[in-house]
Amino acid sequence: MIFEERQIEKNNFSSRATLLFGLIMLGLIAVLIKVFSLQISGYTDYQLAALKNKNYAVPVQSLRGEIFDRNGRALIKNEPTFDLITRPNLISDIDSFLEEIEPVIFLSVTEKLRYKKFQKEKAFVNKELVLKKDLSDEEIARFNVRSFNFQNTFIAKRYRRISDYPDIFSHVLGYTSRIEDDFKSMPEIPRSHWKDAELLYAFGLIKGRTGLEEIYDDYLTGKHGERVYEMNARGQLVQPLSFIKPTKGPDLYTNLDIDAQKSAAKSLGNRKGAVVAIDLESGGINVLYSSPAYSINKLSNGMSENELQALINDPDKPFFNRALQGRYPPASTIKPAIGMYGLSNNIVNWDFEMKDPGFFTLPETGRVFRGWLKGGHGKVNMHKAFLVSSNTYFYSLAYQADILELSNHLSSLGFGQKVCLDCFDEDQAFVPTPEWKYSIMNAGWVKGDTVNLGIGQGYLVATPMQLANYASLLAAKGKFIEPSLVLPGNQKKSLKIWHDDGFDDSDWNKMHEALLGVIESDYGTARSIRDLKEFQVAGKSGTAELVSLDSKEAYQEVRSSELLRDHSIIIAFGPMPNPRYAVSVVIENGESGGAVAGPVAIEVLKSLINE
């Protein structure tokens, strides 16, 4: 090549090389800008992403609060048991490990199989595994002596939710059961991490299902803690990074009374029924008992499938909480409410007298409504009508009532609505109205329906809780007690008073006098329980007819079949003249109210008053 040509070639090369190297420079600058945008502009996002990669947070279960009665005695407590826990990642040979530990801790075949099944998986990710639950004292002692042989194994405390009275507080306290996660309480921890939660309960993560355990579940649970581990890309835990201690749930102090509940359970025996007792001063519910019951200890800590099925299929329906959900006709216990209606609406007054021939004839149709005593009670005024429980008197009073006004009046006394502030799954039962009857039965309201309502039969139904609330209102002369299971302080109560211009203090006094007479006078229908106690009690008993019959023969026949027998009911309060407690008792198929339900009410009042 000649020199000139070579110079052209060199210039050509220089410009082309400059172009390519220039492009490379631009590329380097582009990379630098990209790195800048990742490391400087996007730093916060990527730092979070890196933390999310490596930080594995597991919840640390908190201890549930315990539940106490009004005297500070434990109703439900956390009872420690001991579990044997291993670190599978430190165990190289499972078989020889199991062989070594067997003389110290007895292992069943299923326990060994279960352990072998999960060992590898847990070892890989450095997580713990329970080898045996609920060690005996002997096993603990044996293990502690030899613990230096087992660096990969330790004993940890695990709690069980235990009540000393599992069978008599079953419905009111309720039971807990296992849950997969408590995601709701700690939304910052992913759902999948809950399977690795550090547990305090032998039964795992638990949640209240019924009763107080359910109603106050959040309160009792406290706050779960959190332990954060560093995790590598294969899901192995490398080391713990941080720990937030769980906060034990606060204890729950209730108005329940162990002795009174015990006496309710004892005096009801194995009959079906319910007892509710209320402290008039605080509105606290001292007794809430439904029979038959079941063991909450077993339900909360593992019950066999057979036992559970037997409970579910029991014809007596032990899971049914009769105190809050049982719908019973209030029968004669409604009479004070009907009386209040008559007085406040000026249909009758205390002096008004009528003749009771033992039956009431509906003028419109000639239909006959019978009293419970053949031949009647003679001349009755309101006082006597309460004492002898004259049906005729209240039939004729109800006959003059306006059904809409009467329904409103009954609702104002708490019927047909939930009355307890913190009861689990309370039924509101109902007060009938013409509208209701038309929608359900497609039939019009007739005068006879109102007349039947006058003695608490027919369509009106109430729960024992509503009856107890009604008894409290009568006892407190119109003050709404607003029953609650937990001591006031957890919730504010309103100060509502039942008031009517036509019903004044002297009416209340006369009412108390009459209801006192039901039990304490020689003519009272519940006088049979008069001598069971040292203090005076007012009340009203009732017998709820399940089948309405006109002939005595048919009635005898019905009595022979237990399930068709009348329910016996009583509401009572005492000690008079300044009542402190009100109580309602319903005994299914127990027949005569005063004689059957009465003694139960007296036993409960006795145990409450004599404390």
Binding site: M1, E5, R6, I8, E9, K10, N12, F13, S14, R16, A17, L20, F21, I24, M25, G27, L28, A30, V31, L32, K34, V35, F36, L38, Q39, I40, G42, Y43, D45, Y46, Q47, A49, A50, L51, N53, K54, E230, M231, N232, A233, R234, V238
Partner: protein, 362 residues
């Protein structure tokens, strides 16, 4: 001592910058390998051997490389053929050839052989280059590309193609030809996509354009790499302190993704330092190319250093998410003997071409 330096062919700028880069590489590798001293020691041996090879290769006159360039290309292709026939299959690819206790990625040699051969073929041709010469060059480039591509090793095949194309471009390829072939390439790209690319390669490219489509599959690598670099911030998390690296969220930390380790543990500052060293090396190569004694030397220095630059750029762009994932180590930093040896070999040749003058000064 000074006399010795005067007698040997030696470029102090390249020598010390490569030395700094290699030492930093060993340092980074220690952290990237979760403190595996064995790996670092092995790499150290390669580095030492590499410097010896570089100094030895710098000594012969460029004419020797020119005259042996045909043999070198045939030898490289032969090695590739041996790999194809006898090489063990690792992860679905045949890339390695074993000679005694040493195993070597045969395709690495082609990165050198192709540009040197083309420089020799083109250096005495008149400007502009004739169509016949262009076609012969392109056939050689395509054949070498295709053999390596079939291993399959898309990354290395691309680098080989680039190395040849750089020389062709620098030697004076006409602009009209470049424009024409670009149009042909664009038209034929659907064919390349459907027929030539392996499914996993297509998957990688698809993932690149939509990384969130498959966060636990193919795009896991690139997402984790970005998280590693991004979470490093300005100062980095410190030596051995990168959670993405140490807890293995980042894949291939010792090889393809070692830049992400540097980004995570040494932050933007570390990246800046590293890129400055690379920039310095490239600028020095640029200077040597311009001041080389003849057209052959210019073409070889330009081709080899731009190949090095392409290698670097592909790795950098891949780990920061500017390019799809292709297997490509970070030069002088990533673990691996083959690529390191071929790099030192290349820089040995560059030094030889850059320091030999026609008339030695007396």
């Amino acid at each position: 001592m000074n006399k010795l330096f005067q007698k040997i062919y030696f470029d102090p700028y390249l020598f010390f910058s490569l030395f700094l880069l290699s030492m930093l590489g060993l340092f980074f590798l220690f952290s990237a390998s979760n403190a595996d001293a064995g790996i670092v020691l092995k790499q150290f041996v390669y580095v030492v051997a590499g410097f010896i090879i570089m100094i030895l290769v710098s000594q012969p006159d460029p004419d020797i490389f020119r005259r042996t360039s045909g043999f070198f290309l045939i030898f490289s292709l032969l090695l590739l053929g041996i790999t194809y026939l006898f090489g063990p299959e690792i992860n679905g690819a045949q890339r390695w050839v074993r000679i005694g206790p040493l195993s070597f990625q045969s395709s690495e040699l082609l990165k050198l052989a192709v540009p040197i051969f083309l420089a020799n073929f083109l250096f005495d041709k008149k400007l502009p280059i004739q169509r016949k010469e262009i076609i012969i060059s392109l056939i050689i480039i395509f054949c070498c590309f295709f053999f390596v591509f079939r291993q399959p090793d898309l990354g290395t095949a691309l680098i080989i193609a680039f190395s040849g194309l750089f020389v062709l471009f620098l030697s004076g390829l006409s602009w009209s030809f470049i424009g024409g072939s670009l149009i042909v390439f664009i038209i034929s790209s659907p064919f390349i996509w459907n027929i030539l690319l392996e499914p996993f390669q297509r998957q990688r490219i698809a993932t690149f354009f939509n990384p969130e489509s498959d966060p636990f599959g193919a795009s896991w690598n690139i997402i984790q790499s970005k998280v590693a670099i991004g979470s490093g911030g300005f100062f980095g998390k410190g030596f051995g302190g990168g959670s993405q690296t140490q807890l293995n969220f980042l894949p291939e930390t010792e090889t393809d993704f070692i830049f992400s380790v540097i980004g995570e543990e040494f932050g933007f500052l570390g990246v800046l330092l590293l890129l400055s060293i690379y920039l310095f090396i490239l600028l020095r190569c640029f200077y040597l190319a311009l001041s080389a004694r003849d057209r052959f030397c210019r073409l070889v220095i330009g081709g080899l250093s731009l190949t090095f630059a392409a290698n670097l750029m592909i790795n950098l762009c891949m780990v920061v998410g500017l390019l799809p994932v292709v297997g490509m180590p970070l030069p002088f930093i990533s673990k691996g003997g083959s690529s390191l040896m071929s790099l030192f070999l290349a820089f040995g040749i560059i030094v030889s071409m850059g320091t030999h003058k026609k008339f030695l000064p007396q």
